[in-house]
């Protein structure tokens, strides 16, 4: 059956789509920055030998890594408000879910990165008379962070895909806009094709960058 491709309705609504794209990027950027930041502390807690730090952080990470993201977002939107002292709108719920998810995954990246540093580096720093904090700050983390960059970029790519799930709770990112518009304009084919292409244009360059950094890291050793 022939279909007449007609993208006019897509272009007519481009302002709405661009707003959706903007919201996608905003949500992604916020959750990435917060997630990478908190992930550092959770990662260090997971590396600690002190049970007070190790067990709660491990429980947190396992819960958020072993449940679907959509369930996390939906939980924060439908379940959490019941016991939450403050208001939860779609943006807050999505941010909470995605940030905590990113925190959990990036904490593993930190932990693995720290663990990959030769034990001798710890010893040399310790033998000079550095305390744990100084060892971390001056010697271990600077070396570890370089190795973690490809994995962090991978997280960023994943996160950009995950922001589309916020459409389920009616946050006005790109997917949600597409849904809304296609219902009004009756052009699901063009709309969903256009949106898929937009996402691709947004995400693929980042994926390429990841491969590039991975190669550079492998070469440097």
């Amino acid at each position: 059956m022939e279909h007449n491709w007609d993208f006019s309705a897509v272009f007519a609504n481009k302002a709405l789509l661009l707003m959706g794209l903007q919201n996608t990027v905003i949500l992604g950027a916020i959750c990435l920055v917060l997630g990478l930041f908190f992930g550092m502390f959770v990662g260090m807690a997971r590396y600690s030998r002190n049970p007070v730090f190790y067990w709660p952080s491990t429980a947190f990470v396992e819960v958020f890594r072993n449940t679907p993201v959509l369930v996390q977002i939906v939980w924060f939107f439908f379940a959490f408000p019941i016991i939450s002292p403050f208001d939860i709108n779609a943006f807050t719920a999505a941010t909470l879910g995605l940030t905590l998810n990113t925190t959990a995954f990036s904490s593993e990246i930190y932990r693995a990165g720290i663990q990959s540093i030769d034990k001798g580096q710890w010893e040399a720093a310790k033998a000079l008379g550095m305390g744990y904090g100084e060892q971390m700050r001056r010697i271990i983390l600077p070396q570890a962070v370089k190795r973690m960059i490809p994995a962090f970029m991978n997280r960023a790519v994943e996160l950009m895909k995950m922001t589309s799930l916020a459409s389920v709770i009616a946050y006005g990112e790109l997917m949600h806009q597409a849904k809304t518009i296609s219902t009004i304009e009756f052009n699901p084919i063009e709309m969903y094709t256009a949106v898929a292409l937009l996402f691709f244009a947004l995400i693929y360059p980042a994926a390429i960058a990841v491969q590039h950094f991975e190669k550079r890291l492998a070469a440097r050793g």
Partner: protein, 226 residues
């Protein structure tokens, strides 16, 4: 002000939740069943196809990996039926979407595994007169597959998490059931928490299993290729 937790209502509908879980596993299982072989085909095409095949396949794989699964799902459920005039119920759309989506990731796992096999293996096979296909079948793939098992299993677990999207097109998986129960009982907190807990138990158990397997394989000298 305390909230009065009431899990009783949820347990009355527990069988609905279990039905949802079964549906989740059904979609995941079928997607794996189709996705893995398809991934192998894509990987081989990308590695050994002539360039008119290799390039489009590469584009398709990258496209499937760099677009959100929900966008793919919606396209297959809302757009495709109109385009080719085929009836698409939520179940079919889900299996189709996730078979393709997972095949793109499996293609990368296969490619990584095959490429990681020492060049010497190819040379040895060539030296006794094997052609490329036979070498692949008898020498390369058997070794590659063993290395890739942990990566496969991890991807499979990822897939289990990703298929929760099917609830958005009204396929009755666990999340969908939880949602409808919550809407009729107004016990969102309890229902969604229990659904999350069920997901956690199933996925965490699989995850631990995979870690055991990884440890076992590391001990017996097989390393993973990612």
């Amino acid at each position: 002000m305390g909230y009065e937790w009431d899990f009783g209502i949820v347990f009355r509908d527990f069988d609905l939740l279990m039905l949802g879980l079964i549906n989740t596993l059904k979609v995941t299982g079928l997607a794996l069943l189709f996705g893995v072989p398809l991934g192998l085909i894509l990987a081989l095409l990308r590695l050994y196809g002539s360039w008119p095949i290799r390039i489009p396949v590469g584009v398709v794989i990258e496209f499937l990996r760099s677009t959100p699964p929900i966008a793919q799902l919606f396209w297959f459920f809302f757009a495709l039926p109109i385009l080719i005039g085929v009836e698409m119920d939520p179940f079919r759309a889900s299996v189709l979407t996730f078979s393709l989506q997972s095949s793109a990731f499996f293609a990368e796992v296969f490619r990584g595994g095959i490429v990681s096999i020492d060049r010497g293996q190819w040379e040895a096979a060539k030296a006794i007169g094997m052609d490329r296909n036979r070498t692949l079948r008898r020498v390369i793939l058997p070794q590659a597959v063993k290395r890739m098992i942990p990566a496969f299993l991890e991807r499979a677990i990822e897939l289990m998490k990703t298929t929760t999207l099917v609830s958005t097109i009204s396929y009755a998986d666990l999340l969908y059931q939880a949602n409808s129960i919550a809407q009729s009982t107004y016990r969102s907190l309890e229902v969604f928490s229990i659904a999350a807990a069920i997901y956690f138990v199933v996925i965490f158990a699989c995850s631990i299993g995979v870690r055991r397997i990884e440890r076992y394989m590391a001990r017996t000298g097989e390393t993973t290729a990612h």
